[in-house]
Amino acid sequence: MKPTEAPKLIVQDLDLYYGDFQALKRIQMSIVSRQITALIGPSGCGKSTLLRCFNRMNDLIESVQMRGRILLDGQDIADPSLPLVTLRKRVGMVFQRPNPFPLSAFENIAFGLHLHALAAGRRIHAIVEQSLQAVGLWDRLKDRLHQPALRLSLEEQQRLCIARAMAIKPEVILLDEPCSTLDPIATGKIEELLYALKEHYTIVIVTHNMQQAARVSDTAGFLLLGELVEFGPTNRLFTNPRDPKTEAYITGRFG
């Protein structure tokens, strides 16, 4: 592991309710900078819900109630001094299904740049190139930047979505089961990409694929019924789990 850095994200006593249903219970964790943190657990355990807390996407759902705190570089993300728009600019997200807009690849990446007025004219082109380079799409797309993004393969679409999230220079990238619609080869390529990206970004990935978590992550958390059962270095968690429930899950006895 790299020399200890201050944690990028700290979760303190997080409770989350959908109406009366408690989806997250007393979550405590800290996520280290420039590492990949994986959240694993069976469907409905709350891992996606937890992920969506980090960029406050749950705010879009009216019935959600949250208690506890999440700190980004020590600052409470619910604090009015950190506007939602700024938070989401700093904490980007990639979704389960590749979801490019039905626009060209170029326009997809430029979307966020226009929103934040980050660049104009030639500068946009440079950032588009940079972002596509970073996800390994530039050589394939440089001559078809203005063709519809939906004509790309699913893997390319997902790469494009990662590039779109990266274009606005976030510090954290959240990925919600980013490979669940991809075949194993495409999945492998995305994993390599994530591995390369962690040099610059703090990455949190939700996955129900334990091999994936074992392969790519530095730290892993196991959630079950809204509780963070175990959280620690991936190696340790997979080879020597402390909690019998974790062991049962990773050895495939339920899930």
Binding site: L60, V85, T86, F111, L115
Partner: protein, 296 residues
């Protein structure tokens, strides 16, 4: 005959009976459908056969002559086109704005439920009531007089529910994931609507608007008291002028002018019909084209 054979025969008879009933039912359903189509074909056929020979460049582009018994219907065509153009100007922005509010912003509370109910009611109001309402509000109270402005505003209110409903549907059909991505990239609510939702709803909104307008174009009652002139010898100069309009002109020709060639009336009806029909066809073509092009 042994019982097994008898049972088979009984089952066979029952099956034949069921099939007979089914055939009769299909036949009835088919005839009903045919009658609907027939009505449409008859109306259009009659007007086409009687009106088409009367159509000429002169009929379309000259002013009426000899007490409207001869000459053309140019001012009525222009009046109707101006009227529907102005109606779109008023109804489209307001309708789309309302639809955006209702789909993207409105929470489910009593006020928004009331607003929805009001819109539904608006679409059930008889057109003559709109006419009287327009007379009271725009012509008299707002002092617009009998004018293109008063007529277009009245037609706009009548068209609003159609535009709002169609726009709401178009906005709802934009996948939720577009909104999510946009928010996740740090877009505000309005930026999301403006850049990630509205552009993809435009085709649906256009189709709905055209259909609403085509209905308004053919209405007589709402323009009767608000804009329509029996006869004006010149085209309107401003939105405060009265104007002739096709539906009302047709009514005048059919009921107020004796000794007029029958074909003159049918020719006018045909022009109105073609105008409305071509708007509808435009809407259908647009919808089909965008549906084919749509990729999500």
């Amino acid at each position: 005959m042994d019982p097994a054979t008898r049972r088979v025969q009984a089952a066979d008879r029952q099956w034949r009976r069921a099939e007979l009933i089914q055939r009769v039912a299909f036949a009835l359903l088919f005839i009903a459908t045919l009658l609907v189509a027939l009505a449409s074909v008859l109306v259009m056929g009659l007007i086409l056969i009687r009106g088409a020979p009367w159509l000429s460049w002169e009929f379309l582009t000259t002013m009426p002559a000899r007490g409207m018994r001869a000459g053309g219907i140019f001012p009525a065509i222009v009046g109707t086109l101006e009227l529907i153009g102005l109606t779109v100007v008023f109804a489209l922005p307001m309708g789309v704005a309302a639809a955006i509010y209702l789909t993207e912003y409105a929470r489910d509370n009593w006020m928004n439920r009331f607003i929805r109910l009001a819109i539904v009611n608006l679409s059930g109001v008889p057109s003559v009531v709109y006419g009287l309402f327009g007379l009271g509000l725009f012509v008299i109270f707002c002092r617009f007089g009998t004018s293109l402005l008063a007529g277009a505003l009245t037609l706009a209110i009548m068209t609003l529910p159609v535009i709002i409903t169609a726009s709401e549907e178009a906005l709802r059909s934009v996948p939720q994931s577009f909104r999510e991505v946009s928010h996740s990239l740090g877009a505000s609510r309005w930026q999301t609507v403006r850049h990630a939702v509205l552009p993809f709803a435009v085709p649906g909104i256009m189709t709905g608007t055209i259909l609403g307008i085509s209905r308004a174009a053919g209405e007589t009652a709402p323009i009767l008291f608000t804009v329509a002139a029996f006869y004006v010898p010149r085209l309107p100069h401003s939105v405060f002028d009265q104007a002739m309009a096709l539906p009302y002109h047709l009514y005048v020709l059919s009921t107020q002018i004796p000794n007029i060639p029958q074909a003159h009336r049918y020719g006018t009806a045909l022009v109105l019909l073609l105008l409305v029909l071509s708007l509808n066809v435009l809407a259908v073509v647009l919808r089909a084209r965008f549906r084919r092009k749509r990729q999500w």
